[in-house]
Amino acid sequence: MLKKTLAALALGSVLFGAGQAMAADYAIDKQGQHAFVNFKISHLGYSWLYGTFKDFDGSFTFDDKNPEASKVSVTLNTTSIDTNHAERDKHIRSGDFLNVSKHPTATFESTAVKSTGDGAADITGNLTLNGVTKPVVIAAKFIGQGDDPWGGYRAGFEGTTTLKLKDFDIQKDLGPASQEVELIISVEGVRK
């Protein structure tokens, strides 16, 4: 009980007490690459295979007084997929999976942000992947914000969502344990 109250207080002070209470635009820190679009998918049901997209960019608007007014937009180069295995990456880029020659970019545009308390929010938006646009909900968590040591101001989040491969027209069947992929998105933005 006490723990919870303390946590709520701490969070409250982060969210509302900093006095930096304006909606601000942030650019994803691509230069310093404090941003990751990772994914994991089950291999045969026996282990997790992790991968990442190395090339993406985007921006978000964030107001800690009014988190539901936040917006986020990300554009990602699907060719930049890396699972630490060249032959597998080549296969994932092919028509069996991401079809990158036909659909070189994936995008996410938020349409609504719903606060779920404790610095968490559900970000609803349209994800375009492999030429298919579908609404998805990213369960996001505010991680922290503040001045950086180099004269800038930063805010960071992490979010996850689960996609069914079939929903995005991904043809290859990897078996019953591997029908879904979890996206783990971790971004730090620098205030513009």
């Binding site: 060249a86 032959e87 080549k90």
Partner: protein, 181 residues
Amino acid sequence: MQLRNSSDRYGLVSIVLHWLVAVTVFGLFALGYWMVGLDYYSSWYKTAPDIHKSIGILLFMVMLGRMLWRRFSPPPASLPSHGRMTRLGAKLGHAFLYLGLFVLMISGYLISTADGRGIPVFGLFEVPSTLTSIPGQEDIAGLVHEYLAWALVIFAGIHALAALKHHLIDRDRTLTRMFGR
């Protein structure tokens, strides 16, 4: 039959190398074509590419040996009945087959070794990676490998048709010479 080529005939070594490479190239093409369409749960999904790569590496070594042998024992002279254009065409065609085959094998090697992995050959030894940092290496090498494989088997087919044309229409020894006659 003599081992070395004479000025008029092919020797056993060149003949065996020729047919061995011919069978291997078509076999690798068929295997490659089949394996890229395999289901993930096929028991061949892992083994077929392993075999394809292992045979490919061995073929590369055989082809190096074939080039050396060609130096050591040059092929017989063209048949006197062949005109200038026929000789030139044959030379260019053979050059394309040799060059294309080497580029094909190297492109395959560059796919599998793009991330620094080596290629194990039937578990006996491993060929290490060399070039690994060409941007988009596995994708570019993959396209070269795919298109060149098609070009090469089609061209090898034309090569075979040309040999049949010599045999059936011109009625010369072009084809029979490759059987030691």
